[in-house]
């Protein structure tokens, strides 16, 4: 992987640059350290709504102007709000990247937050939430988070609670924007076909003059010890049942996180590589015809979060059966550990997954942006190396440390008959 250069401008903006000349394109990202975990009650969803408002224009780039400019240049652009961050990106042919860099600099401090646009966007965001509500698993996810986190901001969905989406004001949004969109709370990341010295000079010219003061203190409340297993049950119209088993795990920068990632590779497979039909969970749940599908993942988060396994049950099979099969697999892992062959498979899958993702400058830049958010800019670059150092004993140790009843949160989605039969008219 080409070297990463890391700079900090006098105003506090972090700059991460990586030259990658496999294609004549550049991906440019602005990542802000603020997400749904930093939202107090009454303002849930504010980070995501602010992200929407940044597409509503500035004096220099009125609403719609940037859509046009980026599309005309053949680029892609979007933004994501996560639990920990709000990220904006543009990937463009290399000779067209300046427009994106200028626009991101402008909207770091000059977004308009027009009152009329704010109201129009309120209904769009409520529509986004209602679209998600049409999926029964959204209700399960929302209930599970609420059960897992009583105090910490991870307890609500990123989109926010509908009551807050209806009551939040334009001033709430603007205050959130002014407080968190500052150079000292952000990173500019570029990966692609450029010269690093020239790119740094451009960033200094465009962003060096933006003032904003020190990085803001972020609203965050640590989650107290759960003190035992928690369970939630959700009922929604439909015919398909789901079972989700979560365990509390540490933050992504904790030494144990990568060991848990290897554990997950063995239980469920490596994301981004293979189809994982030889994984332990597939064999235990799908091959036995308890489930139509099973998936498991760790989200790399700033604060301790969850390791989740979700099972889509086949007709006639019960959540109890899924739970019994899952707990049996976990007990087997805790008793017998893993083999060297399984470990080697996880290592090769990781190597392959990195090779696939490195074809895209957008994915590489995303990894760097995530590293900044986690507070360790080398997190993505060292990922594979750290994973290769995990031993079978490490996996056994974290299985026994974290996959235990006192850290467990269980969610069940039971389908119920609709009030009236679903019909075609």
């Amino acid at each position: 992987m080409p070297p990463l250069t890391h700079h900090t401008l006098p105003n506090g903006l972090t700059v991460l640059l990586r030259e990658a000349r496999s294609a004549p394109v550049i991906s440019f990202w602005l990542a802000y350290r603020v997400g749904s975990r930093n939202e107090p009650t009454g303002l849930t969803g504010v980070s995501h709504w602010v992200e929407h408002m940044l597409f509503k224009g500035t004096e220099r780039f009125p609403a719609g102007a940037l859509d046009r400019e980026i599309d005309r240049a053949g680029g892609q652009w979007n933004a994501f709000t996560s639990m920990d961050a709000t990220k904006y990106f543009e990937t463009l042919p290399a000779d067209k990247i300046d427009i994106a860099m200028e626009a991101e600099a402008d909207r770091m401090s000059n977004a308009l937050f027009d009152a009329g646009e704010t109201e129009s966007e309120r209904t769009v965001i409520i529509s986004e939430r209602q679209g998600a509500e049409n999926q029964p698993t959204f209700w399960l996810s929302e209930a599970l988070r609420g059960a897992a986190f009583r105090v910490h901001g991870y307890h609500h969905e990123i989109i926010g609670d509908e009551t807050d989406l209806r009551s939040m004001t334009r001033d709430n949004l603007y205050a959130h924007y002014r407080r968190h969109y500052r150079p000292a709370n952000a990173a500019a990341i570029a990966v692609g076909a450029f010269d690093s010295d020239e790119m740094l000079a451009k960033i200094e010219r465009l962003y060096g003059g933006i003032e904003g003061g020190a990085a803001p203190a972020l609203f965050s409340r640590p989650e107290p010890e759960a003190g035992g297993e928690r369970r939630v049950t959700v009922e929604r119209p439909g015919e398909t049942a789901f079972y989700e088993l979560c365990h509390h795990i540490p933050a992504a920068t904790h030494d144990d996180w990568m060991k848990l990632q290897v554990l997950n590779a063995i239980l469920n497979g490596t994301s981004g590589a293979s189809d994982n039909k030889t994984s332990r969970l597939y064999q235990a749940l799908v091959k036995t015809e308890i489930a139509a599908g099973v998936g498991a993942w760790l989200t790399p988060t700033v604060d301790p979060y969850l390791y989740s396994i979700i099972v889509t049950l086949r007709e006639g099979r019960s959540p109890d059966e899924a739970e019994a099969a899952l707990l049996e697999e976990i007990a087997r892992l805790q008793a017998d550990g893993i083999s060297e062959a399984e470990l080697n498979k996880a290592r090769k899958q990781t190597r392959a997954a990195f090779a696939y993702s490195s074809e895209s400058v957008t994915e590489q830049a995303y990894g760097l942006a995530q590293s900044f958010i986690l507070g360790d800019v080398s997190w993505f670059d060292n990922y594979a190396e750290r994973l290769m150092q995990v031993t079978a004993d490490d996996v056994l140790a974290v299985a026994n440390r974290y996959l235990v009843p006192r850290g467990r949160v269980v969610g069940i989605l039971n389908p119920i008959e609709p009030e009236a039969e679903a019909t075609d008219a």
Binding site: R72, G75, V286
Partner: protein, 429 residues
Amino acid sequence: MTTSQASIPNSGNIQRAELGNGVVVLVYENPAVQSVNVMGSLQAGSIYESPEKSGMASLAAGALMTGTTGRDFDAIHGALEDVGADLGFRGHVHKLGFSGKALAEDLSLLLDVAKDALCHPVFPAEHVDRLRGERLTWLQYSAFDTRYRAAKAMREALYPESHPYYYGTYGDADSVAAISAADLRRFHAAHVGPRGMILVIVGAVKASDALNLAAAAFGDWRREDQPATPQANVPAEEPTDLRPTVSLPGKTQSDICMGVIGPARAASDYLAAQLANSVLGVFGMMGRIGKSVREEKGLAYYAYSQLGGGHGPDPWTVSAGVNPDNVELAIASIMEEIERLTTETVKDEDLADNQSYFTGRMPLRLESNEGIASHIHSMESFALGLDYLAIYADMVYSLGKEDLLRAARRYLKPERMVVAVAGPEPDEA
């Protein structure tokens, strides 16, 4: 910096070979990466199915990887997963498609597994039963999905039951339940063969090595009685139910799916229709529809248009997810934009914007092995010629406003547009 002509896949840098049995192999070297991508298709889509066994081609495609004469289920998947490789088959209406990826050092293995799956599947009954159960669960779940149900209702109103496009490639619960392992074996024996097969290989491999590996894998495959591919014609009948609705109690949002029959990929006005579609519901924030329905009226999170453009008369659709109270307003707003597109030429700047968009996005689309393979496969599959990408910009810029208007008028006929809605009961909203 721009993509140079030399780096665009073209007849000079794509190695093409036709094996004696009809398999066409195309290889493009991409030394900038560490991996390799394979992509391809065969003439074994759902167009060969009977309505009673709808879903057969897709189930057969999925079951190719469940056991062969040389490898059982675990051996197939173990071989791939041990090296972080992936391979999948998917049934479409006209084609059986496949795609896979591996580190470059494992291309030989990837092709060997692909050959095994395509040429020597055994469709073990226990695995077919399991796969069928997984499909039935998916169909069950989808039956309560407003987006899926709106699209299905639109399709079933737009095409008559005698047309292959009436049916979803996954079939329905009754038809899938009726498909046996023996049915899949018969389907494979009757339809899956080398004639018409396309295999594209892109990545960190020497073209000559890749061609040799492909020939070793598929060169000896013989099937003398492979049937000709049926055509899917534009239906003779007009749709009779233009406003199908699906009631799904308990949902909070309604999905709208509007559709007319659009151009096939081979149609002379396909590119003009694509540009018109981009103006309508793609460019910027989902085109004119996005501007009206989302940006100005705040009615929806998504509202966009899409042109199918495959081997037959695929639909030209508009989709939106809206609050149930706003369904009629959203439909009226979309119809206004369709009316505008079919009665007025687009503005000069609209045409220029979209021409720039179509040509400017090429470097991003050719960034990855998969993107390159997809374009090469399309050039071969739709007989566009291997220099299509090299002349693409000229073709886009040769089109004028009248071309877009003609294409829009030809296909987007409001009086034939099916408007399907799936959502909660009106009094639930």
